[in-house]
Symmetry: C2
Subunit: 279 residues, 2 copies
């Protein structure tokens, strides 16, 4: 974790939740990214009692007193008795739940349960188990480690070393429960002019990542400075050959150069047409 030098804190943003706070944080960052402003963020998860809510409210009020500006509070508290305490603090209270619960109650013709800590699926659910299984699968099939059970893969990522395959496969598994293997395309493959033989039966599941050679050289140099592996000329060669191979084999591919792993994963997901899933 980086230690970011703290500028004068312009503003504190609190993420308050009765669960992990991940929803409040993901959402809050997303909305805040629309403002040209630096903020200090504070997570307050697991607020499931009046005492804890009162403690959180005191922290918000203290930030207001110290900074002279009202802190922003993104909250996913589902119990009115808890959210009322935060609403009465000196923060600008953004109630992510209440705002949308009423229109949904109307649309569904159902009352919300206001059950605490429901935002992540139960560890007993099939969805949760399939995510854990996908993580184990993706780890076991990282970097071409195993060609066992490739028939179970939802997708097989290919690309030169350090093109972004590993973090993408892990994200696909963790966020979407996708079993994603990944295989490096290496100079050996380019010399043979063939895909790794264990992959050939699964061409339809393959998806390629490419990357701009100068960016690749930069990434490789961080790990192996001044090596042949990291040299720009070698990166140019490998990327050129990998793209040629993917074109020849009819493998769909995209460039990872300026994309985050979230963006790469969402693009792949769309490509492999798994947008619709029952919950």
């Amino acid at each position: 974790m980086p230690t970011i030098p703290a500028p004068h804190p312009l503003r504190t943003v609190f993420f308050v939740s009765d669960g992990t706070g991940i929803t409040a944080e993901t959402f809050g960052h997303s909305v805040l990214s629309q403002f040209e402003i630096k903020v200090r963020t504070v997570r307050i998860p697991f607020i499931d009692s009046v005492e804890k809510a009162e403690k959180a409210a005191r922290a918000i009020n203290e930030a207001f007193q110290q900074e002279g500006q009202r802190p922003i509070v993104f909250s996913t508290l589902v119990k009115d008795e808890l959210s009322d305490i935060l609403r009465n603090s000196q923060g600008v209270y953004m109630d992510l739940f209440q705002t949308f619960i009423a229109p949904l109650e109307q649309a569904f013709g159902l009352k919300a349960t206001h059950t605490i800590g429901r935002s992540h699926t139960s560890t007993d659910s099939d969805e949760y188990k399939s995510r854990i299984e996908a993580i184990n699968f993706s780890l076991a099939h990282d970097d071409g480690q195993s060609s066992k059970n490739l028939e179970d893969a939802d997708v097989i990522l290919v690309g030169v070393s350090r093109s972004g395959k590993t973090p993408t496969t892990l994200f696909l598994a963790m966020q979407y429960g996708i079993k994603a293997a990944n295989y490096p395309l290496t100079p050996d493959d380019f010399e043979r002019g063939k895909l790794p033989s264990s992959l050939i039966p699964y061409r339809g599941k393959m998806f390629g990542l490419s990357i701009a050679p100068d960016r690749l050289a930069e990434i490789r140099n961080e790990r192996f400075p001044d090596s042949k592996y990291a040299a720009l000329s070698n990166c140019r060669y490998e990327v050129h050959e990998a793209e040629r191979m993917m074109r020849r084999e009819g493998i769909r591919w995209m460039s990872s150069t300026t994309k985050s792993i979230e963006e790469i994963a969402a693009t792949i997901l769309q490509e492999i047409r798994m947008e619709a899933r029952a919950r």
Copy 2:
């Protein structure tokens, strides 16, 4: 990915975004978890043009015609010209952005930029780089593979095999940029009655995971049925010894038995007091 048998689709929920759709989806699932209802979900990411927005609106209208109930639409579109198209569809439109942008503009005394695709940090940002670095660190230090650079770890998870260490370390890295190593506690360690020697200098960074023996036996049996490793008696022994060791060494620990990786990670994060981070 599981193939979940599709019940009669009561209701379709769309997640529409000009970016990956992850914010809309995380948030939507969180709110929907407050209702006792099964829904079919459809992701529509990367809606960054009028044409794409119109296509999404048609998909929503078709779902309405087929199902006879208004679909729910969670949207993080930041451009008014795009969100207006969806608002005029036959879905129940939940505008996650507009709802909170106005009060934030007032609080900050700033106008929102309405820039598309900003919800994930740029791949050039220090925060993004530190997440990727943390993922690489956590992978290199998975399952006690390496004791190199442990001084750089933010946290070192310990626990018996299959207590949930690996997915938790990967989640800590991916979500929070935490460099998390993990080490198994094994029968060898219990016989010696000592922590693995490479860990001893880092006791202060260690955090333990324990698990109910019957749940552990269940998990181990999935991989190695009828093995000594998976036998309930052995699981009881290992968990008992691991807890004894953690108590003796003064290592904080928690039970992973009924917790999701999100909940375990958020708890650890809170314990290691990193709630506050500059953005």
